[in-house]
Structures are given as C-alpha cells and as structure tokens.
Amino acid sequence: MADYGSFHQFLTRFVTPLVAGGRVEVDGLIGPGVLAGWIRPVDLDATAVAWVHDAARLRLAKVGPIGHADHLPPDILALAAVWHNLVAMTHPDVRGKMSLRRKVRQWCAAFLEWAGVPFSRADVSLRHGILGRLAQLGRVDTHVTFWAGYADFLGVAPPASLVALPRIRRVSEEKTRVGFIELLLGLDAPDLDDDSADLVGVARAALALSPLTDLSLADRPKPFTFAWTSPALNALGDEALRGAAARILLGRGAAALRAVEQATLAAVRAECLPAAAQLLLRFHLELAVFEGMSAARAAEAPRGGQPSSGASPLPSQPVAWDAYTRLGSERVAALVGLPAELVARALPIDPNRATPKEPPSAPLLARAGALETRT
C-alpha cells in the first residue's frame, strides 16, 4: 500500500476526486498523527493543489460571491480525513467491529477538535468548496452473475477475468449506485449500546463544522436529521453566506426548505437566544421573498399558469409564509432590506384568506420578539 497518509497521496486520491469527480479512493483508515506532516507537507505538489482550487472556485462561484479559494488549509484536510474514515466504516465488512469503531470515533474526534469551528467567511466558504460535493458521493456496487454463480463487488470493479467472454460464459452485470445518505445510514447500528462506538454523532459533528455543506444536505433522514448548530447560525450572521445558504436551499427544493423550517421550530422550542431567533426569522423571510420572486417570474411568463389567489404561494415554507402574512409586506421589506413594492409584488397577500387556528410561525415570532399584526 502506498503511503496513503502523505499529503500528496491523500490529496490526489481522495480530495481531488471528491471535488472534481471520479474515483474516490478510500483505503483503510487515517489517524490524526498525519496532521503533523500535513501542516508542513514535504511533498506538496502545487499543480495538484491548484487543480483542487480551480474546482472549488467553480463550485463556490455557483452559490454566490462568498470568497475565493486560493489555498488549502490543513483544517479542511482534517475534515476530509474524518469523512474518509467515516466512509471507510460504511463498508459492510467492518460494520460490527466494535474496537475499530471506537478507534475511528476517537481519531475523528481528534481530527474534529483540531479542525474546530469555522471562524470566518473564508473558512466556511473554503470548507464548502472542498466538501460541497459530499451529497453527490456514492458507491457503485456491481452484482455479477455468470454461468457458475454470482459475485458482488462493493465499489470496486469486478476483475476482468470474471466478466470476460460475456456471451459464452453468460455474464451479466448489474450496477447499483448507493448514495451518500444511504452510505451514512450504514454507520448506524441500532443494536449498539456503547456510545463510545457511535459514529452517527461523529458524522453530524463533521457536517456541522461545514455549515453550507450541512445546509445542502438539509433534507437528510433520521438519525442525521438537520438541526441548527452554532457554526451554522454563526454563518447566517454573514450576509454573503446567508445569501449563499438561501441559494443552496432554494436549489435543493421543497424538501430541504421544509426540513430547515422544522429545524428552526425545533431550535425555538429548545428556547434558543432571541438574537438567534431573529436571525432565523430574517433568513426564512428572505427565503420566502426569494422563492416568491422566482414564482412571480414564472407566472409572468407567457402561457404560464396564473397563481391562485386562495392557496399559499409558498407551500414549501408554511412557517415563513405565515410569518410574512402576519408581519406584512412593508415590515418584511424593511427586515430583509428590499423595496416594499417588490416584496408585495413577489408575495401578494390575499385579504380573504382563512386565518389558521394554530399559526405555525407563532413560536418563532414570539421568540424573535416580533409583534403579530393583521393585514
């Protein structure tokens, strides 16, 4: 085995394909002792690093002007090493090996502790630039049947000798791509009582340290359900990162928007700070206005359907729509910093709408200290 712990090997075999696509090699495990070598790498290949930078820059350019990527700090590599180990532990062969899970949890905790939370916009954007394609990561499993039986290959390609002479040997291949969330579900062991071997919490913590990546996977199922964390809320405080988060969520679709609203309500129920509630309220109102503007543009298109006056124009954001109708377009416009006329045109309020008995946005508005008004 090559020295997989070296900076160059890890960069070219794991980080680069993770960013640019291709064969992401997960070879065994990586311990935190490699960090000492990664801080001052002796085998730094500037071309390989520049390649990663280019791919990350292109990715960041799609979510907004949130910074540039022109260097590769070791904390990102530490986070990438955590994901390397977690993905390695999704292999069925090591699922029940408790000692190995404990060791991995210990090593990942050391990596996460060393990487720490993102301090700045640059940290957040760089981490998302490198790890933003985790959602597309997958494993192609191949089920090969031949005249004498069958064989399964997880991730790796079947040997050429096995699939040779397909007509004579009656070889058929069936490829299945296992998505990232399904891979992560392999980390969960329901019959596990030992918390010291729990890797689900490690994965959640690793996701939390890259807030934009965390938001891009907001529609993930249990036990990885999205929840607001302090690094994510910290990132929302930055206007550029908030805009990027909004673009990422609107690009992910209705499921992600609903998941984020549920996470907001959960945070409010957990009695988060009023400032955090205000930040979340503003973020959701911005999301609502952005989505309303997109819907208005679609409605203006010829032959397009007219928006119905009775139904909510934002079925994917019931909390935000309810908060908007309660606050009114002018107040929301002042809150999100947009012209009131634009907001009113993007989200027209039907005066004859029915008032819900239990307004979904009530806890959020109350926690944020916003007065309820009727328009």
């Binding site: 065994g28 002792g33 700090p73 993905v87 301090f119 990561l137 991730g155 990132a235 945070a267």
Partner: protein, 519 residues
C-alpha cells in the same frame, strides 16, 4: 570497292560525303534501291505505318532506272537530313529487302550497317557513272535513268484490299455513293428516319478512253446506326466509303495499301479522292461536294400534288353535337399523373400519405371539393391505390387510366372547346357533365394538409442543477483490516497544536454567532 570509315575520319572520296555530329559518313541525299514495284509498295506502306512517310514526302522522288543488263529497278531518293532519319529509313528498307545508299549527285555509297558503324567510303570512283552510280560492298554499278514515277499516280493506281470484317464496323462517318436512280428512295428513307445525313450530286469522268461523265448521289452520314450501314451495304447500286485521312475515302470493308492519312499532302485541300474496290479505280472529285441536309432535299424533290386554286373556304360554323364519352382504350397506358378520390376515403388517403417516403410526398398536391379529393402528382399519384387514376393527355387534361376520349379529339382542342381558364386542370370524368375544371391554385402540397393545428407546450426553463457538468465522485473502498487501528498512517504520533483563525483579505469575520442552545 568500298571501305569502312574510321572514327574521326574527315576526308572522303565520295563527293558530298561528310561526317555528321555522330561521326557517321552522310551525304545530302539518301537512296533506297528497290528491286520491284511490289517491294516499293511494301516499303511505302511500312514507312506510312511507321510514321516516316509524311516526313519524306516533300523531298521524295521515285525513279525507274535501267542497269547495264537492261533490268528495271526502282530508286527512291530522299533528303538524308540526319543519320537518325537515315537509320529509320535503313531499318524499313532492310525489312522489305531494299538497299540504302547515301551520297550526292551521281555517286552513292552504301549507308552504314552493323559492320561499319561510321559508314562506308568509295575506294575508287567508277569511270562512267552514267546517271546514277551505286557503290555496294558486293557490287558497284552504274544506272541509267528511265523515267520518274509520281507517288500520287502510284497511289491512285493501287486498288484497295479487303480487311477483316471486325475492323470495319461502326465507322464515325460514312459516305455512300448511290446511283442516280436510287437516290430519291434512299434519301427519302433516311429523311423519314431522321438520320443525320447530308447529300450532294457528284459527277466525274469515267477516264481511260471513254468520255462518259458519270453521275451519282453522294451521301454523308454522321455516326450512322449499324442497321443503316447494314441496309445500305446490302443495296445493289450503293457503294459505301469510309474516310482515310482528311482528303480521301476508301470503300467500306477495304483499306488502301499505303496509309492515305500520311499522304494528305499529295491531294489538294478541296479535293476528295474516292478509292473504289474491285479494280474500278479511284474517283477524284476536284472540289469537295456541296453537301445539304437530306430533309431539305426531301421536301424539294418530293412529288407534291399540284396546288389547287380557286377553292372557297368556310368557317367552322356548324357542329356535329356529338357527346363526349369515355370508351375503353386499347392503347398502352401513359403516365399516371393524377387521381380522383371520393371524399369518404379521406381518412384512408391521409393514412396512406403519411407512410409515403418524404421525397414522394413532396411531389403530391391535393385539392378538395365537396365530393372528391383531386390528387395531382406526376410521378407519385400512381402509388395511391384509391379512387380513379388519371393519365395525362397533355395541356393539363387528364383522362381515366384505361379509357380514351370518344370522339378522339386532341387535348388542346378539348381545352379550347371547354373554354376553361388557362390555369385549370381538366379532368374528363365521363359523368353527366363530362369535364371538371380545378384551378391550379386550389392544389396545395399534401405536406401542408396532413396535420391539423399543432398544440405547442412551451416548457419553462430552469437553471441547470449544480455539478450537472461534472463527473460523480464514486467511492472506491478498501475496508480497514484487523490491525488498521495500529497500522494505519497517523495511528501514532502527536496531534499538533490547534490552528490560528484564518483571515483573508476579502473575508470578514462573521458577527452574530450564537448557540441555539444558549451555549
């Protein structure tokens, strides 16, 4: 008698002999001694085939000489020019058993051969050379001039010889010498078949002791079909000739012993010499006959009836009022160009049109009336197996396939009588009103009427998803082994101290961080 010339020898006893650029002893003239007339003809024929005869014609003389023993021999005298020309001449002469000499005036010495590459010189001149003295390694003999023989006369006296039939087929131009009595018939026959032929009347003196002037028709046929050649050849009184060179023609199936194409300079520019076979001699026409097209001759010489005068004419004021009917036709069908299909078969017609090849469909035009669909397609209507197929009678008049008009009036007259607009297509349906006129403008391309109004869904565009243009990252896992906890890279070693916060120029520190749990 003669001696070999050495290399670089410059002094010779033979008058006029001198070395040329190659050192060959060469005089200004060359002489070929031919023992008989047959050999002479063979020599001229070989020279003509080889292509050397036309070069020699300007200086060629044929002399008949008498030897001391009173034997007649023939001498061909030419300008030597160069040793190259003489070499070719010597090769031809050796072929026919003649001897070649070179020299000037009256003394001629043997031309070079393999034994003397630089030629020969006379060792001692004859005391009495008479008119011509020839010096050979086997003899030295004086000759007396008997008479000159003109090459043109020789050519005219020679009779063509027959050639194998396969070499004389399909001539590009054919001349036919037709006796006067046959002229009208042959010319009329050719005119009726529209053969590209021209005709002239030629006259010539029979020659010899007779003063009779013979007269005949001379036909010139350009690339005649083999059947005309065969027919004319089989007619008694018709002689066929094929050109040999620009100014001479030889009887068809024969060849002149000497290639006449190499002897064009011997005939006048306007002259036409016709070599007849069978010992009839050649006909020399002093000027080329004024050929005219056979069609014009036919109309001029045809026996037209005498013009009837004082006949009164009346306008066609009356009519027989016969009904226009369709009767079964026994004539072969013409081109199907249209079809009339009942309106009830509209759906079937649409399905048939929809499976036609695009090129064929593009050629079909249809017009709808209250009862029928009129389909027009000169090359495509025949594939529609519906309704009644119509064939084109001309002038945009169509009749049902297998039927003809009764009375059989031409299509232009029918169109004139119908008084239909000029741009209408007339269909003779044979119904109570026998003619149906459909304006041409009513016909529209079938491709236009195959489909009704097409609903269009204008799909809304959305932005492409992120990373749609990038390859997917695929995990290629190697599961950790049993000792991975001990043997993995970085399994041992200390973790470095925590890093410092990263600050970039464009990055600003975020401000409102707070813990949702209040931490």
């Amino acid at each position: 008698m003669i001696e070999r010339v050495a290399q670089h020898q410059s002094r010779f006893r033979t008058p006029g002999l001198g070395p040329d650029s190659r050192g060959v002893a060469l005089g200004p003239s060359g002489v070929v001694l031919v023992p008989s007339m047959e050999r002479l003809v063979a020599f001229l024929r070989a020279a003509g085939e080889e292509g050397a005869l036309d070069e020699l014609l300007d200086s060629l003389r044929i002399l008949q000489v008498l030897s001391a023993l009173r034997t007649r021999e023939l001498v061909v005298e030419v300008q030597a020019g160069s040793s190259h020309r003489m070499d070719r001449l010597a090769a031809i002469a050796r072929l026919v058993g003649a001897m070649v000499f070179t020299g000037s005036g009256r003394h001629f010495v043997k031309y070079r051969d393999a034994q003397a590459p630089f030629g020969y010189d006379i060792a001692q001149l004859l005391d009495d050379p008479q008119d011509l003295a020839l010096y050979h390694d086997r003899f030295s003999q004086p000759y007396r001039h008997d008479k000159d023989i003109a090459l043109r006369d020789l050519l005219l006296r020679l009779a063509p010889v027959a050639v194998p039939r396969t070499r004389a087929e399909a001539p590009r131009t054919l001349y036919a010498l037709v006796r006067t009595g046959l002229g009208d018939a042959v010319v009329g026959y050719l005119a009726r078949w529209a053969v590209p032929a021209r005709v002239a009347v030629v006259e010539w003196q029979r020659g010899g002791t007779s003063d009779v002037v013979e007269r005949a028709w001379l036909l010139q046929l350009a690339q005649p079909a083999p059947r005309f050649t065969k027919l004319l050849r089989s007619l008694p009184g018709v002689r066929l000739f094929v050109p040999d060179g620009e100014r001479a023609v030889v009887e068809f199936g024969h060849r002149h012993p000497i290639p006449l194409s190499a002897c064009a300079a011997l005939f006048g520019a306007e002259e036409l010499v016709m070599f007849r076979a069978g010992g009839d001699g050649a006909i020399t026409l002093p000027s080329r006959p004024p050929f005219v097209d056979v069609q014009t001759v036919t109309s001029l010489v045809a026996n037209a009836p005498a013009t009837v005068e004082n006949v009164k004419t009346f306008g066609a004021s009356g009519s027989f009022s016969l009904p226009l009917k369709l009767v079964p036709s026994g004539s072969p069908p013409k081109r199907v160009a249209a079809a009339v299909i009942p309106l009830g078969d509209q759906d079937t017609l649409g399905r048939m049109l929809s499976v036609l090849p695009p090129a064929m469909l593009n050629r079909i035009h249809v017009a709808f009336t209250e009862t029928s669909i009129y389909l027009y397609g000169p090359d495509a209507a025949s594939v529609i197996a519906l309704g009644v197929l119509y064939e084109d009678l001309g002038d945009n008049v169509f009749a049902p396939l297998g039927w003809s008009l009764s009375p059989p009036i031409p299509s232009d007259v029918l169109r004139q009588l119908s008084r239909a607009p000029g741009d209408a297509r007339l269909f003779v349906t044979g119904a109570k009103v026998p003619l149906t006129a459909i304006p041409t403008s009513a016909f529209v391309p079938a491709t236009r009427v195959l489909l009704a109004d097409l609903p269009v869904l204008e799909d809304a565009l959305i932005a492409p998803p992120l990373d749609a243009d990038t390859a997917l990252p695929d995990v290629w896992p190697t599961p950790p082994g049993l000792l991975a906890g001990l043997m993995s890279p970085g399994a041992r070693g200390d973790v470095p101290p925590p890093r410092a916060p990263l600050q970039l120029d464009t990055a600003t520190s975020t401000g409102t961080g707070s813990d949702p749990s209040g931490g």
